[in-house]
């Protein structure tokens, strides 16, 4: 009798929940670019995940639809702005990005392998670091703020020309120690709430945490246009928000800790398609 009541109550409650688990849906952008939103987990996370999944699968029907067509994706306006920037000379050398790299579409294949070890610099670099290196050392221009508007727009342009290509971040060789550092951070329980990335995004993806439907916290879709703040959001801004939500002292965008974390989190999505700029809530 008691059990029965419990079961009935559970049914009642669960029907008020929006969803459980990822949806069964396919993402094709502009009717032409097929996006891999779920695939077998890469070897280095196969001990904890069978499949890796894009955050797109955890969003509602309308949010998902916005990403299927560039006219409906508010993030694409910023891509257009960056395209203009790409072709505009800046700095003491009087050069634009296009002067060295050609058309922005020539950069297809760059986003999927970043963060990436840079031989000359002897460090792992994010796309943002590389963009600022070009600005400072090739253009003689001011560095952009790590998560500022110009920068996040430019990373959206660089992501957009690689959409559909598989994320393929190298984690061995000289990148390995940074990757290990990122992995440590991923499993560290921070803040007064003592929560790690893994607590929410590995152990509980598919579950609701209050009003939020937890995804795997993948970054293949970055930068993301969020309906919540109606702008593009950089990877490190998201990391900062998630760490803050554990009631912790966060790391700064562009800090060595977040660079390492990005390398690690990015590599957990190896095999998923580049999807940015994506749409999330």
């Amino acid at each position: 009798m008691r059990k029965l009541t419990g079961a009935v109550l559970a049914t009642l409650l669960s029907s008020t929940l929006v969803s459980a688990g990822p949806v069964d849906d396919e993402l094709v952008i502009n009717d032409e670019t097929e996006i891999v939103t779920r695939t077998a987990a890469p070897a280095h996370v196969a001990d904890v995940l069978d499949e890796v999944m894009s955050g797109w699968l955890f969003r509602g029907t309308e949010t998902r639809a916005m990403e299927m067509d560039d006219f409906d994706n508010p993030g694409m306006i910023f891509v257009e702005q960056a395209e203009e920037q790409w072709n505009t000379a800046d700095g003491s050398e009087g050069k634009s990005c296009a002067d060295c790299h050609g058309a922005s579409t020539e950069m297809a294949g760059v986003r999927p392998v970043y963060p990436k070890y840079n031989e000359e610099a002897g460090e792992v670099r994010t796309l943002e670091m590389q963009v600022n290196d070009c600005r400072e050392n090739r253009m003689g221009a001011e560095k952009w703020k790590y998560t500022g508007g110009d920068m996040v727009n430019m990373t959206a342009l660089l992501a957009s020309v690689s959409r559909g290509m598989p994320v393929d971040i190298a984690i061995d060789g000289p990148a390995q120690s940074t990757w290990e550092q990122g992995k440590d951070l991923y499993y560290t329980r921070t803040g007064l709430l003592e929560l790690s990335c893994a607590n929410c995004h590995e152990d509980n993806y598919g579950n609701m945490i209050r009003a939020d439907h937890l995804s795997q916290g993948q970054i293949n879709g970055f930068p993301t246009y969020r309906l919540k703040n109606t702008k593009l959001n950089a990877v490190h801004s998201r990391f900062k928000g998630c760490v803050r939500d554990t009631r912790a002292e966060t790391f700064s965008p562009g800090s060595p800790e977040f660079v390492a974390l990005e390398l690690y989190v990015g590599s957990r999505g190896n095999g998923l398609s580049v999807e940015g700029p994506s749409v999330r809530n």
Binding site: R189, T190, G191, L192, I209, R244, A248, E249
Partner: protein, 157 residues
């Protein structure tokens, strides 16, 4: 005269226990994850506890738990077990232990420790993302813990 003396002592004691007997987060005694003694020396207020469990700014327990009795509060999470019937499954002392520091009862659990001030990695100042300025306060006060425990005890089915 003698009787008067004893009465005075008793009154004195009662006043003492109401104020000074609050057990500090660092002094809570756990046995098998349970805490026998009230953290305030008195029992809590179940109605206030109900509010704390549902309130985003304090306990926010529904972030992770579903509670049928709190159906008026929107959005219950699915991380931990449903709290319906928890007052029948656990004694008051066990519930006090779970809410104060669930890691004493469930090793490695994701549930935060609500009455703890030490041993954190990169503790922050609330949700500001900054380091705390003064001493770290527990997430819930001794009184709030007792209120929550008083409420959980009522969840018999």
């Amino acid at each position: 005269m003698r009787t008067f003396g004893i009465a005075a002592v008793v009154t004195g004691l009662a006043a003492f226990s109401a104020q000074a007997e609050t057990i500090a987060p660092t002094a809570v005694g756990y046995s098998d994850g349970a805490v026998e003694q009230s953290l305030t020396g008195a029992s809590g207020d179940a109605a206030r506890g109900r509010e704390i469990v549902g309130d985003k700014g304090t306990g926010n327990c529904v972030a992770c738990h579903q509670v049928t009795d709190l159906a008026d509060v929107p959005w219950h999470g699915e991380i931990g077990p449903m709290l319906d019937g928890t007052g029948a499954r656990w004694s008051e002392a066990e519930l006090r232990g779970i809410v104060s520091n669930a890691k004493m009862m469930f090793e490695g659990t994701m549930m935060p420790s609500f009455y703890k001030t030490e041993g954190f990695i990169r503790p922050g100042d609330g949700y500001t993302g900054k380091a705390p300025e003064g001493e770290i306060e527990p997430i819930l006060s001794a009184q709030q813990i007792e209120d929550v425990v008083a409420y959980l005890v009522t969840l018999k089915e």
